[in-house]
Symmetry: C2
Subunit: 456 residues, 2 copies
């Protein structure tokens, strides 16, 4: 690789390039498409395929299947991966997957249908196929699915020189590795040495004298969320994976952990907003409806609870019709207060900063914040309402209802996700719907109940 090539690699996916590629696709100019794709990183080609329309995608794939290598298949969003593989000739797919490491092949296979899985497995060498099938035997979303089986290992009694000679003579080393893992004679990992320490130590130094002080392993059956957590928490670059007996079976590297972390973030954000966690910007309108309509229907029914509550006060509203205009203010501000409390709690649960040790203190904190926010808002709304409608009693009712609902909102925002977590559910799941239903119902109930009591 020359300097010029290295610098050319830095091309990104600018809008002008996308436009030029789409023009070449429309003109059926295969050579042009290939020339424009060639300097792009696989991740950018994958993004391009995600951003264009389905018809542009199939035209582009037909013209340039030669540029679609394994890395592109591995980078592409699962929402369109099946479609892309369907569109490619068998031999292109087979060549593409053959060049990937086993963990990347597993990642691709996880989201495909049985016939496509068979097609891809049969394209692999026997050894790779066995490796992939073994990885697939671990539970979904486990460390075993995430790990690569190619590990760089040295007996714990070796010296730096022995390790270097072994690495120089090795037939096949993984594309990316950052540590040499030291094992005992039963293949149990006992520590690891960074490549930097090996390179900067004398040949006769023993590996055990230069191991890292911090050393962690994960079990192949551990959930991938736990793996992502320890990479993030302890700033790991790679982590050995062991079986139930503590024997080394693979290694997970930071790029895989970062991916999991990113997916978890996305999932939390989408679940909180009441969208199916597989929503993607490349979905068509129909797929989008499938991801969203179920939650909207749920909300339709929970909103009907509010309607039922209000209908119980129809005589109050008939007597004082201006109540109908101001009543949504209490509910709406409650919904915002609940969402605020919820977002902080869900985030803290995800980063494991909200635990059994501080849950009680956080709930009390929310109570305090709810009371103070309620008082502040009650003052503004109470005075405002009394002034606009020239009715002190309306001001008092608005103020009291606001305080009540802000307390309910703040408490609900933290108690709902804490309860979901305790029951083993994802704390982000449906939390938003629970909390806003709670604050809507409580807002109308408190306001109309107090109005009936104090104003009629």
């Amino acid at each position: 690789m020359t300097e010029e090539q290295a610098i050319r690699e830095e091309d990104g996916l600018e809008p002008e390039r996308v436009e030029a590629i789409l023009e070449a696709v429309e003109a059926g100019d295969g050579a042009g498409v290939t020339r424009l794709l060639e300097p792009l990183h696989a991740a950018d080609i994958a993004d391009l395929l995600e951003q264009i329309s389905p018809s542009e995608r199939s035209a582009l794939l037909a013209l340039s299947s030669g540029e679609i290598d394994g890395d592109v298949l591995s980078e592409i969003d699962e929402s369109i991966r099946e479609e892309v593989i369907e569109a490619l000739p068998d031999n292109v797919v087979a060549d593409a997957v053959r060049e990937l490491e086993s963990d990347d092949v597993v990642d691709i296979l996880e989201d495909l249908d049985a016939p496509q899985v068979g097609r891809i497995l049969s394209a692999l060498d026997r050894a790779d196929r066995v490796a992939v099938e073994q990885a697939l035997s671990y539970p979904e979303h486990s460390a075993g699915r995430l790990m690569q089986r190619e590990v760089v290992v040295a007996p714990a009694h070796w010296t730096v020189g022995e390790a270097i000679d072994f690495l120089r003579g090795a037939d096949h080393l993984p594309d990316q590795f950052y540590h040499v893992i030291l094992t005992d004679p039963r293949m149990k990992p006992v520590g690891y040495v960074t490549l930097g320490r090996i390179l900067s130590s004398a040949r006769e130094a023993r590996l055990t004298t230069i191991v890292e002080d911090s050393f962690r392993t994960v079990e192949a059956a551990d959930p991938e969320a736990d793996v992502a957590y320890i990479f993030n928490q302890y700033h790991l670059i790679s982590c050995p994976v062991v079986d139930a007996d503590g024997r080394l079976v693979g290694v997970i590297t930071i790029d895989d952990a970062m991916n999991v972390l990113d997916e978890e973030h996305e999932e939390d954000m989408l679940l909180l907003a009441g969208v199916g966690e597989e929503s993607s910007i490349s979905d068509g309108a129909l797929e989008t409806v499938k991801q969203r309509l179920p939650w909207l229907v749920v909300n339709l029914f929970t909103a009907s609870i509010s309607a039922f509550v209000i209908s119980q006060f129809e005589s109050t509203i008939a007597a004082l019709v201006s109540l109908a205009a101001v009543m949504p203010i209490v509910s709406s501000t409650g919904g915002i207060g609940g969402t605020q409390s919820l977002a902080v709690a869900v985030r803290a649960l995800a980063t494991r900063d909200l635990t059994a040790s501080n849950a009680k203190r956080v709930v009390l904190r929310e109570l305090g914040a709810g009371v103070m926010n309620g008082l502040g808002l009650a003052l503004i709304l109470g005075f405002g309402g009394a002034l606009v409608y020239g009715d002190v009693r309306l001001g008092i009712v608005l103020g009291l209802a606001m305080i009540t609902n802000q307390i309910v909102a703040a408490m609900g925002g933290v108690l709902v996700p804490l309860s979901l977590e305790r029951w083993g559910l994802d704390p982000a799941l449906a939390s938003g719907t629970f909390v806003t239903t709670l604050t809507d119902v409580m807002g109308y109930l408190a306001f109309l109940g107090l109005a009936t009591w104090l104003m009629l």
Copy 2:
């Protein structure tokens, strides 16, 4: 380091340990606290300090300041860092920062007041102080603030053997490094070589023959968000930083990039929920109010717009009081629809999957989804409303209002963040408030307007 030590390091922050530590703190048992903290990773000690109450925190710091080293200060959340540094004796803080790399010192100093900054700078050696001051001269949230200045460099014409001999003889190497950066005679980086390739190649191999194909640099003035993006997009482990003339000035490693990415996720989630981006689970009630009340007050005023809209239809409501009960259903479901569309758009903008190339198609997709979701919900609500109230016209009004509002919701959810992005603002900022105000107002307006027209 022995095997036993390595395994002991794996202790985590279980609730039982937190309880035991707090008991020792209450008993004033300094030796016990030290013994319980000793096997913990700095990140876990930082989490502990974040999870306990302010009074427990100051008692613990008074008993165990010896255990608070630089890594703990570097790991601790900025919301309590100032408080912790305040509570520690000067010499403990000085010793703690002296052992850190310059990028970690910069990260700590960024959030402190001038007197504390002065105290810490004066504790550093002259060379470190100059390095830190130079880093602070780059803009906030730039690559220059993130990078470490200690780089491992080799002239592009060297062989593997020359590089290894240089590394073995080097006085001081960074704690973590994953590449040797190749530079030309003017210190411009021209490529990099992974340590794995160096270790597995023959001594006489030229470094230029084993450089990575993918090579990217960032400029010191680039925003840190761009840095996090390219690490995530291109799976980088480290990335050279250059000045405006292209000369190497430092290197950013993946742990720093992962931190930035994590902070950006948090910021998006909190901003979307209308919470100040510095909200933390360790905030007290007062701090929490400060982060949330401003948004609640904004929402109070936007909710008043809805109240004003409703008040224009008081005569309609007086004539048909049951309208008051059902009207929030249309607004509430619109709010959910808008939030769904918004969450997907904000996430796609953050990952740069929503760009100028596909914005038009995504907006059309949202339009289609809004129409279909609206039709689906209109059928359920229309029939339901007509049946419950025995009034076909009410069913028609509910259905038409629902369709209108779902279209507004879906379009608003994507157009609001796209517009904010175009104006150079954070697309998550206040998007939620804009969109729910829009769907609330439109929900009441469409429903009451249609009711006035068709039912009176």
